[in-house]
């Protein structure tokens, strides 16, 4: 078989295979042929193909188990977008924990658990710390010295807030939430939307206050 054909076969095989191919394996492709190429021919083909990849988006690389075509690292960020999955979602438990840390900071894990009525898993706290949305701001001087959590600059940045004051108060939240009208406290402005300035300047929230010690 002539060099040109050998090169074309080797190229097509390396490109179509889902695994790296060794020279031995490539030689096997020609096994049943009367006119088999030599090992040197196959090796030369690989070298030539490698050179042809100069400047291209893929390269022919030697790895432990043989040769394979792979995308070059500098174009990989774009190629990876082919498989980009939708980002996963955080659990309800995580969002509740985060919201309690934000609204009730500094707060201990025990206090969060008390409000939520269930224990807070370590993985939730870990995820929030890794995301740098919360941090340990100190320790409460009670037996065990539990960590006190607070929100971070990164948290504000992510949600595009200048400060926590921009968050609505619990009372305002109730107004927003139409699904639980029966829980509304009597509100003289019922039916009206609260003026925007009040949202900004009050920065307060009404809560049951039962969780402090």
């Amino acid at each position: 078989m002539n060099d040109v054909k050998v090169k074309r076969v080797v190229e097509a095989a390396l490109m179509a295979a889902d695994v790296a191919l060794s020279v031995d394996r490539l030689m096997l492709l020609f096994e049943p042929d009367a006119e088999k190429p030599s090992r040197l021919q196959v090796k030369n083909a690989i070298t030539a193909l490698q050179e042809e990849c100069e400047g291209k988006g893929v390269e022919l690389r030697r790895i432990a188990s043989g040769w394979r075509y792979q995308t070059r690292p500098d174009v990989q960020p774009w190629v990876a977008r082919l498989w980009q999955e939708k980002p996963p979602r955080y659990s309800r438990a995580l969002l509740e924990t985060l919201s309690l840390i934000v609204y009730r900071q500094p707060i201990t894990r025990g206090e969060i658990e008390e409000v939520r009525g269930v224990s807070v898993s370590s993985s939730i706290i870990k995820t929030l710390l890794e995301r740098e949305w919360v941090r340990v701001v100190g320790h409460k001087e009670v037996p065990g010295r539990p960590a006190l959590y607070g929100s971070t600059r990164q948290f504000l940045d992510y949600f595009n807030l200048k400060s926590l004051d921009e968050l609505p108060t619990l009372a305002e939240l109730k107004d927003l939430d139409l699904s639980h009208p029966e829980l509304d406290l009597p509100n003289p402005q019922e039916g009206e939307k609260p003026p925007l300035q009040i949202v900004a300047e009050s920065g307060e929230l009404v809560d049951t206050g039962k969780t402090r010690h």
């Binding site: 490109m15 955080y90 985060l98 706290i125 010295r145 307060e204």
Partner: protein, 278 residues
Amino acid sequence: MAKTDPSPQNRLQAELPFAVVKGEPMTVPPEDLYIPPDALEIFLDAFEGPLDLLLYLIKRQNLDILALPILRITQQYMEYIELMKEVRLELAAEYLVMAAMLAEIKSRLLLPQPVCEEDEEDPRLDLIRRLQEYERFKKTSEQIDELPRMHRDTFEVSAMQSACKEERPRPNVDLKDLLCAFHEVIQRAQMFASHLIQREHLSVRERMSRILGVLNVEDFVEFQRLFDVEEGRGGVVVTFLALLELLRNHAVELVQSKPFAPIYVKPAVKGPVEDGYS
């Protein structure tokens, strides 16, 4: 669209050799249509139905579909049906319908032809149409089979991806979802809550965090440094309230060496630390 007149040339065509075997021109098709019964199973599988079998019979006699010699075809067809009935009756049913149709055509052809009714359709016409229609799709399916096909004639290229630190997308959170979560958890808490209602300033709690943050780094901070005059009276009050709250919570301690000396704020005396992950 060959509307040919019965010309001598066309007549001649039928006499031309249809094959040349070992140099000998053959004008008579071989009479090898008989298939032994034990080969019938294979034979049946080879045909896609009565139309396919009819086409085969016609081809074997090197005849044009248009020149359908009903009698000969019917006779041969019936021979196969007889064989078939014994082996696979359920399949033979479809073939039997065809046999009945062939017999009907034959009988109509045998009837004397009333001269006046010129419009009557040739009884073979419908069958010929069906045969032609079937043949078109038979041929086309053969052509489709020959199209270059994935994994038979061609293979897709699949380059590996270069190893590259994969950035797993992190969940996005909508502020509204966060607020909803808070609303709900508070509502849930209210079901167990005592009647004590307390107003709290969010900004005070934020300031508490900030003060603790400063103390985390510096450990020992002058009281005054925690206040930022530029924040105005409101800011000063908030910081002061935050400090009082922290003191109440035993989170910080205030130290003053003597009256009127500078006051220092430091984290409360450290006991055993809980890491928060217990």
